[in-house]
C-alpha cells in the first residue's frame, strides 16, 4: 500500500484505533511529546512514512530564485549569442511578456569547472566549485511568461487552480522526522514573494501540510516566528494549560464524531507547543562555530541558507528558501549590475551549503533544487512605459527555455541535461517541462508520481495531474 493511500483512509481507521485503545487524542499528543514510539505511531498525520521506492533522499531544500534568473548569464553559456550581439533573430522573437529586441550577449564570462568541465558563469564562482555535484537541466520550459501562473505551476503543478504545493505533497506523503518543528518551512526575507502564501499552500490537502512562513530578515526568534515566545506564562504552566485544553477538547470531540477539523485543531496546539522549544534552537544560527559562519559568509542569504541546513539536519522535510520578497531576480533592466548583485548575495552560501552537507554526510539524503519560475530572454527587453524605465539593458521573462539544477539526494552529479537553441531562447533538446521536473523530483523522493494521489471531491488528484515523465538520466 502506498503512503498516500495509507493516509487517505486514515481519519476513520484512526478513530477506530483510538476507540479500541481507549485512548484520547490528548493522551496521544502527550505520548508524542514524551517520545514514546509505540504511542506516537498512532494518529499523527506528520509521522514519518515510507514512500513507494527505497531511496536515500529524505529532505528537499528548494533555493527559489524568484523573479526568474537568466539562464544565459548563469548556467547555460551560448557562444553564438556572444558572437551575434545586436543582431535580430532570423525568425523573429518568441512571444514573451513584453516587447523584445536584438540579441543581447551575456555581460559575464563563463569558465569550465571540475572534472565534468561544465561551464559556469563568473557570477557563481562558489557554486562553480561544486559543479561536479550538480545535475543541470538546460532545457526547462513552462507555459506562459508571467510570474503568477509560472510560480503556481512551479510550486503547485497548476497555473490557475488551487492545488497543493510540492512541499505539501511531500509532507503529506512522507510525514516529517521531527515532530517539534514545522515539516515544511518557507523562508523569505522581508515578507512574501508574489502570490504570497499560495506558493506553499496545502490546497485541498489538510491544512497541517501547509508551509510555515518565516521572515528571515529578522534575527530574534520571536521576530522570525510570530508569537513563538510567551513572556508571561512559564513553560510548565503553559503545559498545564494545554493538558486541560486537550482534555476539554477531547470531551467535546467525543460528542461530535467524524470531524477532522476538530482533530486538526487539537493537534495544532501540540505542534505549536513543541515548536516553541525546538524552533528557538533550530533557527539560531549564532550557535554555529565561527568557521561554519565564515564558510557561508555574511548577509541574509547566508543566514537563511545556513538555517535551512540546520532545519534539514533536524529532520524538517521541505525547506523552501526564497531569495526575497516580491521578485528580486526580475531583471528587466540593468541586468549586468542586478544579476551580479543577486548572485553575490547567495553564491557563497549555496556553495557552502553543498560542501557542508557533503562533509556532514547529509548531501545524499538532501535534494537541493535551484531555479526560478522561468528564465529570461537572450534578446534585450525593449523600453516600455512604466516597465523598464526606458533602459535597454535587461531581459524579459522567458518560459520557452530556462535552467534549473539539482544536487545531492540521489541526483547524478556533473551532468548537463538538455539544451536550448543556439541563442538560449528556447528548449529544443530533451525538453523538460515543469511537470517532468516534478515527476523526477517525486521519483528522487521515492514516489511514483502517477501513483501518488489524494482523493478529493470524488477524484484522485496528483501533483502532475495527467502529465509528467521521469527523467532517468538525472538520477544516479
Amino acid at each position: 500500500m502506498s503512503a498516500a493511500s495509507a493516509f487517505a483512509s486514515a481519519p476513520l481507521s484512526r478513530r477506530a484505533l483510538l476507540a479500541r485503545s481507549g485512548m484520547g487524542l490528548g493522551a496521544l499528543a502527550l505520548g508524542d511529546l514524551l517520545g514514546g514510539p509505540g504511542q506516537a505511531a498512532v494518529g499523527n498525520p506528520l509521522l514519518p512514512k515510507e514512500p513507494h521506492f527505497p531511496v536515500k533522499a529524505k529532505h528537499v531544500i528548494h533555493l527559489f530564485m524568484n523573479g526568474g534568473p537568466s539562464q544565459v548569464d548563469t548556467f547555460d553559456p551560448k557562444p553564438e549569442l556572444q558572437k551575434r550581439g545586436g543582431e535580430e533573430l532570423p525568425d523573429g522573437n518568441l512571444k514573451t511578456e513584453r516587447p523584445t529586441g536584438a540579441l543581447y550577449p551575456s555581460p559575464y564570462k563563463f569558465q569550465k569547472f571540475g572534472e565534468s568541465g561544465i561551464e559556469v558563469s563568473e557570477i557563481f564562482p562558489h557554486v562553480a566549485e561544486c559543479v561536479d555535484e550538480l545535475a543541470i537541466i538546460r532545457s526547462m520550459h513552462a507555459d506562459v511568461p508571467n510570474h503568477e501562473p509560472s510560480l503556481m505551476l512551479m510550486n503547485c503543478g497548476d497555473a490557475r487552480l488551487i492545488r497543493p504545493s510540492v512541499g505539501s505533497w511531500l509532507t503529506y506523503g512522507l510525514g516529517t522526522e521531527n515532530q517539534n518543528l514545522p515539516a515544511f518551512v518557507a523562508m523569505c526575507p522581508g515578507g512574501y514573494p508574489i502570490q504570497e502564501s499560495q506558493n506553499w499552500q496545502a490546497g485541498f490537502l489538510p491544512g497541517i501540510y501547509q508551509g510555515t512562513h518565516v521572515d528571515t530578515k529578522h534575527r530574534q526568534i520571536e521576530q522570525l516566528i510570530e508569537n513563538i515566545k510567551n513572556d508571561r506564562i512559564p513553560r510548565s504552566q503553559q503545559r498545564a494549560q494545554l493538558d486541560l485544553l486537550a482534555t476539554l477538547n477531547q470531551q467535546h470531540l467525543e460528542a461530535r464524531q467524524h470531524d477532522v477539523q476538530l482533530e486538526a485543531r487539537i493537534q495544532s496546539f501540540e505542534l505549536a507547543y513543541r515548536m516553541q522549544a525546538e524552533a528557538s534552537e533550530a533557527f539560531d544560527v549564532a550557535r554555529e562555530p565561527q568557521h561554519i559562519l565564515d564558510m557561508y559568509g555574511p548577509g541574509t542569504q547566508a543566514r537563511q541558507i545556513l538555517m535551512a541546513r540546520r532545519l534539514v539536519e533536524r529532520g524538517v522535510r521541505y525547506v523552501q528558501v526564497w531569495h526575497g520578497a516580491g521578485q528580486p531576480w526580475d531583471s528587466h533592466d540593468d541586468i549586468e549590475v542586478n544579476h551580479r548583485r543577486l548572485a553575490k548575495q547567495c553564491d557563497q552560501a549555496i556553495g557552502a551549503l553543498i560542501k557542508d552537507l557533503r562533509q556532514r554526510g547529509l548531501l545524499d539524503e538532501t535534494l537541493i533544487l535551484w531555479g526560478g519560475e522561468f528564465g529570461r530572454t537572450p534578446v534585450v527587453e525593449m523600453p516600455k512605459k512604466g516597465s523598464n524605465q526606458g533602459k535597454i539593458n535587461g531581459r524579459d521573462h522567458n518560459h520557452w527555455g530556462f535552467t534549473v539544477w539539482m544536487a545531492g539526494g540521489g541526483v547524478r552529479g556533473g551532468t548537463v541535461y538538455g539544451a536550448t537553441d543556439e541563442f538560449g531562447f528556447k528548449a529544443v533538446e530533451d525538453r523538460v517541462h515543469v511537470h517532468d521536473l516534478h515527476a523526477t523530483l517525486m521519483r528522487l523522493m521515492g514516489f511514483d508520481h502517477e501513483r501518488f494521489t489524494y482523493r478529493y471531491a470524488g477524484r484522485d488528484f496528483r501533483l502532475t495531474d495527467v502529465h509528467g515523465k521521469v527523467i532517468d538520466a538525472l538520477i544516479a
Binding site: D143, N227, N230, P234, S236, R256, Q261, S268, F269, H433
Partner: protein, 885 residues
C-alpha cells in the same frame, strides 16, 4: 467528474498558435462538394478518418470540447478547411505542406498532435492519402467560429438562464419541512435514502444565530432568555430581534467588504501618503444600508452610480462609490485601476470573470474583448473627484469616449473602438450603446435588471455560504461555463427568484433561510450520511465552522468585557502597542503591509475581490492564542471581570457563564478546580540583566548595594517620571549607557545575574562623550570576587576588559558608574559583552554563549498571569469556543 481533456491540452495551445508559413487558401464551399464525393472515399473517410478525429482530436477541437484549443474546430468539412488561429491545416491535394500532417508526424517538437502520443504510421498514411485526394469530407454544415460555439453553449448554461421559483415536491417526512427550500432539500435527501439530522438544541441554535447574524457570542442572559421563552415563535422572535440589531449590519457589512476588496490604503504608490483617509465612510455607508435593509438592487446602484442618482446637493449616498474607488492603485496605472474596477463589479455582482477578456476573448464564457473594452470605455469616461470629507468618487467626464480594443491587452496596440454598452451575450439580441454620459448608471441598471440571470443568484449564494459555511455553488464569484450546476440548483434558483420578487430584501432572504429546517439541523452527521454523502451535498446536516477572524477576535473581546461596541467611525489599528478594542471590522487594513495575524486567520485578501475565505488550521493560530498579548490581556481582563467571591466553584461557574453562556458539568468543575489549585514555583525567565542604582561598601572586599530603578520611560530606567527625580536625582540606565546619580550613594548600576556556572570574560568600552566635566568612574564588581576592574573615563573612552571570572548560578556581576565629584556632564556609554569560556574538554564545535548588554536591555517584565487568568485563556482556546456547531 471533470473532463480531463481540457487539462491535458492546455499546454499545447501556443503550439497551434505559431505563425503559419504555408500558402493561404480561402474557405472552400463544402455542401456542393459533398454530393460529388465518390462513395469509396466517403467510406474511407468514415472508416479511417472520422474515428481518429473523434477519438483523438475532438476532446480539444470540437464544438463539444470543454475548452477549444487554438481556435481550431474539426467538426465538419468547412471547419476543417478553415483551420484555427494559426491558419489552415492543409491545402487539399497537397500533403507536403500540410500543417495537420506535420503535427501528426511529430517531426517538429513544437507542433505535435495529438499531444499525448504519436498515432500509428498507418493512421498517418491514411491521413496523407486523404489530403492527397483533396480531403473529401461528407460532413456538412457551416464553419463555426469558437465564439459562436461558446455562445451556443452558453445559451444552455444553467446560470445564464433566468432562475425560476420551484413547486414544493412531494416528500414522505411531512413534519420536517417548514419552508419551500426544506421541501426541495428533503425530497433530494429522501431520494438518496437519507434523513435530515435532528434539529440542533436551543442552546446551539441560539449561539449559531448570534454568530451568524451579529458576529458576536450571546451572553448568558441572552441565552437564558431564549431558553426560557417557551412561546412557539421564540425562535422567530430571536431571529427578528437580531436582524433588527445594529450588530447585524456590522456583521454583514464585513461580508460585503470581502467582495469589495476594502482597505484603508492604496497599496504601493510613489507618493508618500498611502492612506485613503475617508475609506471608513464607505464602510459606514454599507453598515447603514444593510441595517436599513436597503434593497440590494438599489444598494448596487448607489455603489456604481451614486453621482448620477443623487439629487442636487444631496451628499448622503456619495460614500457608496468607495466600492469602485477603494481598490489598489497599481502605482497609478490607469489600465490596471480600470481593470480592477471591472473585476470587482463583475465578479462581485454577477460572478463573471470579465477581466479574462482583457487580452483575448474569454476561453469558456461568452465574453469578448469587445465586451471588456465596452466596460473599459465606461470607466475611462468617468473621472475621479476628491471631496474633503468623502472617499474618492467617480463622476462622468464632460466628453465620454469609447475605448479602442487593446490588441492582446497591449495599450500601445489599439484596435477598433467599441461602443460603451452592456455585455453583448447578456444584452439579448442587440447591445445598444449607452446613452447617458459614461454609461455607468445604465450598466448598474443592467446588472440589477430582474431579467439578469446572475445578480440575484450570486448574492443568494454568498448569503448561503455565510450561513452554511459553503455556498451552493462552490465558485462563489465564477458562475461562468466552468461552474458546474449546483446539486441544489432548485434551492438557489428558488431563493434567487423570490429574492427579486420580494423586493431584493437581504433581511428577508436571510430570515427565510435561518427559519428553515435545513438551517436548524445539528452539525453532527449520521453514520449513514457520512457513508453516502461525505461531502454533505445533500445538506443532511449543517457544517461545523471555525469562527472567522473577526468573530473570533470579537468574541474574545466580548466575553472578557473589553469590547468597545461603538458602531461606525474611523478605522483603528488592532496590532501594535496600543491596540484598539473595537470590533474587528473597524480594523485598519493596510493592504501593503497587512499584519500577520490577519493572514494567519485567513482574512480576505484586500488586494482583489475575495470570493470566499479559506478555513485553515495551522499551528500559528494556536501560537497566537497561546502567546500573543491580545489573548493574554483578554484572559487577564476576564479574570478581573469575573472576580468571584472566594468560592472556586462559583467562580468556575461564572467563567463558564461568561465564556460559554452555560453551566459547567461536574467533570468540568472538577477539572477547573484542579487546574486553579495547582501550585507552580516556576517563573518566566526575563533574561540576566537588571537596571538599578546603589553604592559600593566593604573595604576588604567590595560589595554592591543594589536597588532597581523604579520607573521606565520606554527607553530609560530612572527614578521617576521627572528627570532629575526628586529623590534619586540623575541616576538612570539606558540600553547603551546611562547617567550616574548625584552622589556616591546613587551610582548607576547594570547588573548581570549568571544563569549557570562557568568562566566568563568581559569586554567593553566606557565612554564619556562630553568635553566638559571630570568624567565618570566605572567599576566591575563580582559578588564572588569583589572589585575586578576600575576605570575612569573623562572626555574620552577607555577599554574595560576583564579576563576570566568564575561564576556560579545566581552570582551577580555589577557594572557600577559613579559621578566622581559631581553629576554635571556625566552621561556615559558602556556597552559590555560577557562571553562564557568553553570548559576544558568541551566540544570545540559549539559556539561560546554570549550576553550583550545592549541586546539584553529591556523594560519591566510584563505581569504574569494568575492561575485564574490562565484558566480563562484555556477555556477561550477550546474548540467549543472557537468552533461553531
Amino acid at each position: 467528474m471533470l473532463l480531463r481533456a481540457d487539462q491535458f491540452c492546455s499546454t499545447l495551445v501556443l503550439l497551434w498558435a505559431l505563425p503559419w508559413v504555408g500558402p493561404q487558401v480561402g474557405i472552400a464551399p463544402t455542401t456542393a462538394e459533398a454530393a460529388e464525393i465518390p462513395p469509396e472515399q466517403v467510406e474511407f473517410f468514415e472508416k479511417k478518418i472520422r474515428p481518429v478525429l473523434v477519438e483523438h482530436c475532438y476532446a480539444c477541437h470540437s464544438a463539444e470540447a470543454a475548452e477549444i484549443e487554438g481556435g481550431l474546430l474539426l467538426d465538419n468539412a468547412a471547419a476543417m478547411r478553415k483551420g484555427g488561429d494559426s491558419g489552415p491545416l492543409f491545402v487539399p491535394g497537397e500533403p507536403a505542406t500540410s500543417r495537420l500532417l506535420t503535427a501528426m508526424r511529430y517531426d517538429d517538437e513544437t507542433l505535435q498532435m495529438p499531444p499525448d502520443e504519436k498515432l500509428p504510421d498507418q493512421v498517418l498514411a491514411d491521413f496523407r492519402q486523404w489530403v492527397e485526394w483533396g480531403a473529401p469530407d461528407p460532413r456538412t454544415g457551416a464553419a463555426l467560429a469558437p465564439a459562436d460555439v461558446i455562445a451556443a453553449r452558453a445559451a444552455n448554461h444553467w446560470a445564464f438562464r433566468p432562475p425560476q421559483t420551484a413547486e414544493r415536491p412531494p416528500v414522505r417526512q411531512q413534519t420536517w419541512p417548514v419552508t419551500d427550500i426544506d421541501y426541495l432539500v428533503l425530497a433530494r435527501m429522501e431520494a438518496a435514502g437519507l434523513t435530515p439530522a435532528p434539529q440542533a438544541d436551543r442552546y446551539v441554535l441560539g449561539r449559531r444565530l448570534y454568530f451568524d447574524l451579529t458576529g458576536l457570542p450571546p451572553t448568558m442572559a441572552q441565552v437564558s432568555a431564549f431558553l426560557a421563552d417557551d412561546r412557539a415563535e421564540a425562535y422567530t422572535r430571536l431571529v427578528d430581534q437580531l436582524l433588527d440589531s445594529q450588530q447585524f449590519g456590522e456583521r454583514w457589512a464585513r461580508h460585503w467588504l470581502d467582495v469589495a476588496r476594502f482597505a484603508d490604503t492604496k497599496g504601493y504608490v510613489f507618493t508618500a501618503d498611502r492612506n485613503y483617509p475617508h475609506a471608513y465612510k464607505y464602510r459606514d455607508w454599507v453598515i447603514s444600508a444593510i441595517n436599513q435593509d436597503m434593497p440590494y438592487d438599489q444598494f448596487l446602484k448607489w455603489q456604481l452610480a451614486a453621482d448620477k442618482l443623487s439629487s442636487e446637493g444631496d451628499r448622503s449616498q456619495l460614500a457608496a462609490m468607495g466600492f469602485l474607488t477603494l481598490g489598489r492603485r497599481f502605482i497609478n496605472n490607469q489600465h490596471d485601476i480600470i481593470d480592477d474596477r471591472i473585476d470587482v463589479v463583475f465578479r462581485g455582482t454577477m460572478g463573471l470573470t470579465v477581466g479574462c477578456a482583457r487580452c483575448h476573448d474569454h476561453k469558456y464564457d461568452p465574453l469578448s474583448m469587445s465586451d471588456y473594452y465596452a466596460m473599459y470605455g465606461v470607466f475611462q469616461s468617468s473621472r475621479e473627484q476628491q471631496d474633503d470629507d468623502l472617499p474618492l468618487r467617480l463622476v462622468d467626464k464632460d466628453r465620454p469616449a469609447n475605448a479602442r480594443i487593446f490588441l492582446r491587452g497591449n495599450p500601445a496596440n489599439r484596435g477598433d473602438p467599441v461602443p460603451r454598452r452592456y455585455l453583448s451575450f447578456f444584452a439579448g439580441k442587440q447591445a445598444e450603446p449607452f446613452q447617458q454620459g459614461s454609461g455607468r448608471l445604465e450598466l448598474a441598471e443592467a446588472i440589477v435588471d430582474p431579467r439578469n440571470p446572475l445578480t440575484a443568484r450570486v448574492l443568494v449564494n454568498r448569503v448561503w455560504g455565510h450561513l452554511f459555511g459553503r455556498g451552493l455553488v462552490r465558485t462563489a464569484s465564477d458562475f461562468g461555463m466552468r461552474s458546474e450546476p449546483p446539486v441544489q440548483q432548485d434551492v438557489l434558483d428558488h431563493l434567487a427568484a423570490t429574492f427579486m420578487r420580494d423586493g431584493w430584501s437581504l433581511k428577508r432572504l436571510i430570515r427565510g433561510i435561518v427559519l428553515s429546517s435545513v438551517y436548524r439541523q445539528q452539525s453532527t452527521a449520521s453514520d449513514a450520511a457520512m457513508q453516502a454523502d461525505p461531502d454533505n451535498e445533500l445538506l443532511s446536516h449543517t457544517r461545523r465552522r471555525r469562527l472567522d477572524f473577526e468573530a473570533m477576535r470579537d468574541a474574545w473581546l466580548a466575553v472578557s468585557g473589553q469590547l468597545d461596541g461603538a458602531v461606525g467611525g474611523e478605522s483603528a489599528r488592532i496590532a501594535g502597542e496600543t491596540p484598539s478594542r473595537r470590533r474587528t471590522l473597524y480594523a485598519f487594513i493596510d493592504r501593503q503591509n497587512l499584519p500577520g495575524v490577519f493572514r494567519t486567520f485567513d482574512f480576505a485578501s484586500p488586494d482583489t475581490h475575495t470570493p470566499q475565505r479559506l478555513q485553515t488550521t495551522v499551528p500559528q493560530q494556536a501560537l497566537f492564542l497561546m502567546n500573543n498579548r491580545f489573548s493574554l490581556d483578554a484572559a487577564v481582563a476576564l479574570a478581573q471581570q469575573v472576580p468571584g467571591d472566594g468560592d472556586p466553584h462559583r467562580r468556575i461557574k461564572d467563567f463558564y457563564a461568561a465564556i460559554f453562556a452555560r453551566a459547567p458539568s461536574e467533570e468540568e468543575l472538577a477539572l477547573g478546580r484542579q487546574f486553579v489549585a495547582a501550585r507552580s514555583s516556576e517563573s518566566v525567565d526575563h533574561g540576566p540583566w537588571q537596571f538599578g542604582y546603589g553604592h559600593i561598601e566593604g573595604a576588604e572586599r567590595a560589595a554592591v548595594v543594589f536597588h532597581r530603578l523604579p520607573h521606565f520611560t520606554g527607553d530609560t530606567w530612572q527614578g521617576g517620571p521627572e528627570r532629575p527625580d526628586p529623590k534619586l536625582g540623575w541616576a538612570l540606565v539606558t540600553a547603551a549607557g546611562g547617567h550616574p546619580g548625584n552622589d556616591q550613594d546613587h551610582a548607576a548600576i547594570r547588573r548581570w545575574v549568571a544563569p549557570r556556572a562557568g568562566i566568563i570574560t568581559v569586554a567593553g568600552k566606557l565612554k564619556h562623550p562630553s568635553d566638559q566635566g571630570d568624567g565618570v568612574r566605572g567599576r566591575v564588581i563580582s559578588s564572588r570576587q569583589g572589585a575586578v576592574g576600575e576605570w575612569t573615563a573623562a572626555n574620552r573612552s577607555v577599554d574595560t576588559s576583564v579576563a576570566s571570572l568564575n561564576v556560579q548560578p545566581g552570582d551577580c556581576v555589577d557594572f557600577v558608574v559613579d559621578c566622581r565629584t559631581g553629576p554635571n556632564h556625566d552621561s556615559f556609554q558602556w556597552q559590555v559583552t560577557i562571553a562564557a569560556m568553553a570548559p576544558p574538554g568541551a566540544d570545540g564545535e559549539a559556539a561560546p554563549e554570549m550576553w550583550r548588554s545592549e541586546a539584553g536591555f529591556r523594560g519591566p517584565a510584563p505581569p504574569g498571569l494568575t492561575a485564574w487568568a490562565r484558566y480563562a485563556q484555556t477555556l477561550m482556546m477550546t474548540n467549543e469556543f472557537i468552533m461553531l456547531d
